[in-house]
Symmetry: C3
Subunit: 199 residues, 3 copies
């Protein structure tokens, strides 16, 4: 599925750049920037794989490593122009979380986990790279207190099981639930929808 | 052992509420509050299971997940009344760390680890959910600089091995060492005993 | 290899003391100081072993545990004199990262991982204890924004593979690439060389 591969790489690019930007904002050196780009990109999937106790994919698939290194270099060079790419990066990020949610759900299903946990793992795959980025940068994770982000993944994850209940073909379930994540996330940003805060 | 099950659930309730309170203090949204409640409740046991390389229990046992979700919802709704429940919550928390310490020690023993490491794992099971909560909330872990908490677990863990040395029956060892944790923790709070700080 | 064993212990001592100092600076109690000394010493190797999915070595080898406990006690007692030992501690630390880098690279090679990943794991073994220390102390990891440290490990890791390419004997590769880490690190401190920061 070449199409999926392209989405995956766009997601990694968007996640790396978000790491590069966060690290530059903190005045880190190039090593720090690279590590944070790396942790943002692969952190969620790594945590998922360690908890499920399956092989961590970037250990043997070098594509991710190279994409992250190249993105980090370009991100540093083009840092004053990244603002012009903001909309594209938002789009890549959104495509990325759509894909990673569904991939995470499917990985958890094939590990034989119950549906609610599978949804949690889909969300973790998409969102926890950002949580690790913020912890490394000594900030409270931004997804805990901003526009709807993880919630889009949760709803997309549940829709995966709703669609599976109606016996739709596998590919269609994959695409529709990914699109649900993407649609919710875009709506949340366009209409500035946040989860309620509690004081 | 229904008795143990009730203690376990009370512990999860107390840990979740402590997560909910910490997250609300930071102004997080409902997703952030839920994740921090979750991490506080299962974080210690999860770290233990990953390090021992055994199955992480909440992946397949949905009871914890449901208890945490329900507790979080009630915690948010009743947030202005939680202060009245302070004493009950302290009691639940204390029962919880007593139980988790002994459960953690026994899990480590059955993994064939040496006694000192088993005590460390008992303490980790009881205390590291709170460490993860504080890291996610961008605070220095409170158990590193406040009233005796982890120390109660360490002493309870060692008493487990002391009692085993005298060949007491398994159930009695379990109960006595759990009670030792609970007694030390309650005394520490009542008499305001802290570990020495070093400058 | 008694020689290696001595280096290893010196490294653990240096890492523990760096944890003790960081924890004391934050005003933590003796439990907090011990945990941070422990995390600084074994954190990098533990993360490596969890990701590779191999046994975590300090679970069964009590030597590390005892060395860390004893070092922490001495560190606390001698806290006002540690400044006089600064140069020795720097030397121990540098010997430590030289050794841990090469050990980490070799562990990753025997897990069948590709060279770039092996270098990453060597660097992680040497440096991520310090990252975990700084996260627990609520600081941005110091190796992300100071004098060359991780970079010495990365270069030493790559030189391991360069030397292996020329079919040098295993022991010689081990020693030379460790010495490269040490030489680069010492030069960086003596000549105050940092990586470029990016704003």
């Amino acid at each position: 599925m070449e199409f999926i591969f392209v989405l995956d790489i766009l997601g990694v690019v968007a996640f790396s750049i978000s790491g590069v930007l966060a690290a530059m904002r903190k005045g880190l050196d190039v090593f720090g920037i690279l590590i944070i780009a790396f942790a943002t990109s692969v952190g969620g999937g790594t945590l998922r794989d360690v908890l499920i106790d399956t092989d961590v994919s970037w250990l043997t698939n070098m594509t991710y490593v190279y994409v992250i290194i190249i993105t980090t270099i370009f991100g540093i060079i083009l840092r004053n122009k990244l603002n012009y790419l903001r909309k594209s990066l938002f789009l890549f990020d959104t495509l990325g979380i759509g894909l990673y949610t569904v991939v995470g759900v499917e990985k958890a299903i094939s590990a034989g986990l119950p549906p609610v946990i599978c949804v949690a793992f889909g969300t973790m795959s998409a969102c926890f790279g950002g949580v690790i980025r913020d912890i490394l940068c000594n900030d409270i994770p931004v997804i805990f207190h901003q526009e709807i982000y993880a919630t889009a993944c949760i709803l997309g994850g549940f829709s995966y099981f709703a669609l599976a209940y109606f016996n739709l073909p596998q590919d269609l379930i994959f695409i529709i639930s990914g699109l649900i994540v993407i649609a919710i996330r875009i709506s949340a940003v366009v209409f500035k929808i946040s989860l309620p805060k509690v004081y």
